[in-house]
Amino acid sequence: MNKNTANGIALALLWIAAILTVVVLGTVILYVFVNGIGQLSPEFIFTWPEGVAAEGGIWPTIVSTLYVTALAMIIVTPIAILAAVYLAEYAVQGRLVSTIRFAADSLASVPSIVMGLFGLALFVEAAGIGFSMLSAALALSFLMLPIVMRTTEEAIRSVPKYIRWGSYGLGATKWQVVSRSVLPASMPRIITGIILATGRAVGETAVVIYTMGQAINMPITPFDSGRPMTVHLYLLAMEGINLPAAYGTALLLMIMILAFNLGARYFLRRNRKV
């Protein structure tokens, strides 16, 4: 009987661990939702913050966040996909490949503030771009690169061999095989990976805080500075001014992240069934 009692207790604890994880997620989401929902209105989303207490809306910060994220995505997508094509289709296992993989893993684990300082030193100061969307997007793209590379490589590797054989059998060259058969077949998973990495970029704070600047501004060209939503939330929360606006910003940010994550999930599921 003793071993059955132990079994019962242990299984109960494992259930508790799992339930706790779900409850924590639920609490965070619910808390932000309940406190932020009263703030959300077209005025809050589409007007400018005013005065020292940042009364009013957060429109420029939303635009800055979307601007920098889109820019980073445009920069990173081709490089990451072609890099993954190399690793999955062309590379021969060896020192070169293991160096590239080690570099990608290291890049994925670089603390975000280190990436931020790197962006400041290289893009803002050395390259002379200044605090701008472009500097922030370049720093962010180094953060997204390993994520998109990994998911794309997994996607390419999951394409069955016989699809390639079919192409080769028709006399296709390697590039034709990759571009006409392998990439289209793995596209849903690649897009999912890009969406997830983009969601990560939307929520990033430490990378952009010293590369984009902090002054509220409406970015028009990539060389304009701005203040993203995450930095806005951080400043409002730390200075304790205008907590309702902080809740509203947090909720909008959360909705965007959830939309990215659930969107990626839905997209993948829909395309798998086909």
Binding site: A6, A18, V24, A103, S106, L117, G171, A206
Partner: protein, 307 residues
Amino acid sequence: MPSLPSMPSENSNLQLVSRATHLKEIALKNLFLLCAFVAVAGVLLIFGFVGFRGWPAFAEVGPWSFLAGTEWNPTDGVYGILPLIWGTVVVMLGALVIGTPLAVGTAVFLSEIATPRVRGIVRPAVELLAGIPSVIYGFFGLIILRPIIANFTDGLGFGAITAWFILAIMIVPTIATLSEDALRSIPPGIREASYAMGATTWQTIYKVLIPAAKIGIIDAIILGMGRAIGETMAVLMVVGNAPVFPESIAAPIATLTTQIVMDMPYAAGMHRTALFGMAIVLFLASMGLVALVRLISRFQTSIEAGR
């Protein structure tokens, strides 16, 4: 040189494709290699630029008095980062102690106990936890957790203990997903053998599956450690930001990451250099952990090959 059906190697007489096509293929291959090398270039650039800026901190303050100096007081020109390293380690260890059982428990639950239906709820929840921005965790910790902690301790609730709970939640997804992968890669036959001998589910988990997935779980914990060391915004918002050795777990402290964010707006001269020096320390620590994971897996393969 990979010899593939459509790409005759250079010294082959076989002409399957036109010379132009052949050249195009080679050019594309090198372009892809170049793209893959962007990752390597990124690491080198980060090391180069952050290192170039931070190097004087080691050279002029002196590596020993920089890394092991017990006082951080930039206004008087004293740059000892030991209190910050200490803060980072304290926050990281506490978060690991709280987060690891939760994460590994969740991983075991997902791979061994959950029915597909329950798994369909818990697994996305874990992935969503990873997606929530750190600034929102920090905000949550600042507004909700901090007053609760303040009630239990006689302080404002800014300190290591608040950071432990917030950071514990944040490393759960990292550790849980990687541990679950390790558990799932164990062949089902091993479980069946254990059950056939009359073992209970818990005995199978504890005596068979955890030891079998040991290396994978250790890797997961090391990567969780890296996440905890590098986490910036969430910790920044709840630790209180005092670069001192704390008297209690509820007293304000600072970590390497938080001190960089706090000081950067006004730092100049050697102070600024010292912040870049701290970034080098963080960068080397995170790379060291990745290298450690590689070493462990290489060690593991060589043991298996030697058997």
